[in-house]
């Protein structure tokens, strides 16, 4: 049941519990309990909203920063990651296989703001060897959702 609930709310977290129970064909109380349990277990980590900020007009830039680091003795990469993800400016931090170690995404109001964060805070950390900042020019798809206007229903009524 957990997987079914998660698959559904991953796409639509706003559905109310009663409707979710009907759609899944299970008891409402059971859905409620599972949701609570999964929140407590931190399986469900939040219910954020996917926003296309471009349409609001205000300036906002997102950067993907490739970071190469020296892992810390006894702590591996976790300690380094923690130092980085604690900055509120940082959106996400992933440990990556390949030619660099951490992928950090960052949101700022201007290019300068982001660059400043990288040069003042990120690069100056002891164990950071190098960074490479990639600014996002256009977001086409995010969290499995295509950002363009949804296509209209083009199905035609025909003899059933």
């Amino acid at each position: 049941m957990r997987e079914k609930i998660l698959t559904f709310i991953e796409k639509n977290s706003r559905i109310d519990i009663k409707e979710l129970a009907i759609v899944l064909g299970v008891d409402e109380a059971a859905v409620f309990n599972e949701l609570e349990a999964m929140e407590a277990e931190h399986i469900i980590c939040g219910y954020p909203t996917l926003i296309n900020w471009d349409k609001i007009g205000g300036e906002k830039v997102t950067a993907l920063i490739e970071v190469r680091v020296t892992p810390q003795r006894g702590m591996g990469f976790d300690k380094v990651a923690e130092r980085i993800y604690n900055y509120p400016e940082v959106n996400s931090v992933y440990l990556i296989s390949g030619s660099f170690d951490l992928m950090v995404t960052l949101e700022g109001r201007t290019l300068r703001e982001v660059s400043q964060f990288v040069s003042d805070k990120l690069s100056t950390l002891d164990y950071v060897l190098s960074t490479k900042t990639n600014f996002i020019l256009k977001k086409y798809k995010d969290h499995g959702t295509i950002m363009a206007e949804p296509a209209k229903d083009e199905r035609m009524l025909m003899t059933p």
């Binding site: 409707e19 009907i22 759609v23 899944l24 064909g25 229903d153 199905r155 009524l157 003899t159 059933p160």
Partner: protein
């Protein structure tokens, strides 16, 4: 000038609800629950394969019966899902949608005067196809109290010495009814006893919500007297690709192939390549879509129960068929008023045969949000009707 028309074709009525649909398509802000095709796009990997086949310049005819790879995949698909075994070489024919299969099967099997049993409510093309094949259609009216399944008694009552073919349209459009193994066994017994043939239209087979669909052809002694019609339109959301298939004993398939060969040549080539991909790695897509339809189905049923609207639980296709007899209106009156007053389009049950009177076909090939809005309006509408009485 002489009359340019054939006597047969002019006896066939055009679809009666055309006018109703014309009104719907002109009403801009109407929510439609009238469309009978999936709301999903064809899964991308399948579309991609279609594009790839065009890029590679595969723009020629295939062999008449269809691409060998596709027929092999169809045979494998039918085996793994329904336990049906067909020889891809002689017993499978790739057609332009399931509809072509229905047409050519009837033309290959009927002589003037042969009676074709057509259970209704059902898809609108069986009757005209039977007439065009010189057959005599005989309607069997299915009943809500049997959940619109065909019973042995109903079948027996319709059989005459002239009866040759039984159309078996399950999972059913428009009722959503299915036939389970036990139901089919009872029918099969009668079919064998009276030496009839079956045209089993299983285009919605993949959309069955209880257990896996059972094909009548998988029952003992039925394979040699059954033509199975299936296709990609509903299962893989591929309506526009126009691709289906017919399976059955070689003796009938050979003759069907002849008609197909002369009238059609072959099914669209790009569609056939896309369909190979659909069968090789599309099972998961089908499962996902089915889950989604199933959630909507449960939601609609729940809402009907809440508003006290009589409706049997449908276990197949993507239609639900509520009864509106309590309002003392014909299906068409109800649908027209509902459209005008609440701007929601549903199809009157009578579009699928006279015995659809008193019912509506509601398609749930729509997003949950659209269904919610439409059902809120329906709830308001019937509250008003009950109040006025």
């Amino acid at each position: 000038m002489r009359n340019p028309l054939s006597k047969t074709i002019v006896t066939i009525e055009p679809s009666g609800i055309r006018k109703f649909f014309d009104v719907v398509s002109e009403m801009k802000d109407a929510i439609s629950l009238g469309v009978g095709e999936p709301d999903f796009d064809t899964p991308w990997h399948i579309r991609d394969e279609g594009i790839f086949s065009l890029e590679k310049g595969r723009t020629f005819y295939t062999s008449n019966a269809g691409l060998k790879e596709l027929k092999i995949e169809i045979a494998a698909y039918l085996k793994r899902h329904y336990g049906l075994e067909y020889d891809f070489n002689h017993e499978i024919l790739v057609t332009v949608g399931g509809s072509e299969g229905i047409d050519i099967a009837m033309r290959a099997m009927l002589d003037p005067g042969d009676e074709v049993l057509i259970p209704q409510p059902s898809y609108v093309s069986y009757l005209p196809c039977a007439v065009l094949a010189n057959g005599t259609p005989v309607v069997i009216e299915l009943k809500e109290e049997n959940e619109f399944r065909l019973t042995k008694e109903e079948l027996e009552a319709a059989i005459t010495p002239k009866t040759k073919l039984l159309v078996l349209p399950f999972p059913n459009n428009p009722t959503g009814a299915i036939m389970e193994r036990l139901d089919l066994e009872a029918i099969a017994e009668v079919v064998r006893e009276h030496d009839l043939f079956v045209l089993s239209d299983e285009i919605y087979a993949a959309l069955t919500y209880q257990e896996e669909h059972v094909s009548i052809a998988s029952l003992p002694g039925m394979r040699e007297r059954t033509i199975v019609i299936n296709g990609f339109s509903k299962s893989h959301a591929m309506t526009g690709w126009r691709l289906g298939y017919a399976c059955g004993p070689q003796i009938i398939l050979e003759q069907m192939l002849k008609i197909h060969q002369f009238a059609i040549m072959c099914a669209p080539t790009a569609s056939q390549y896309a369909a190979v991909e659909a069968l090789r790695s599309g099972d998961e897509d089908v499962e996902q879509m089915r889950e989604e339809y199933n959630g909507r189905r449960r939601y609609l049923l729940h809402r009907f129960r809440e508003m006290g609207l009589q409706c049997f639980e449908p276990y197949g296709a993507f239609y639900i068929f509520p009864c509106i007899k309590e309002f003392g209106m014909t299906s068409e009156e109800f649908a027209t008023r509902f459209l005008n007053e609440e701007k929601v389009a549903v199809v009157p049950g009578t579009a699928f045969g006279e015995c659809g009177e008193g019912f509506l076909r509601i398609s749930y090939a729509y997003s949950l949000n659209s269904l919610k809005e439409a059902l809120d309006r329906l709830e308001r509408f019937i509250a008003k009707l009950r109040n006025d009485r």
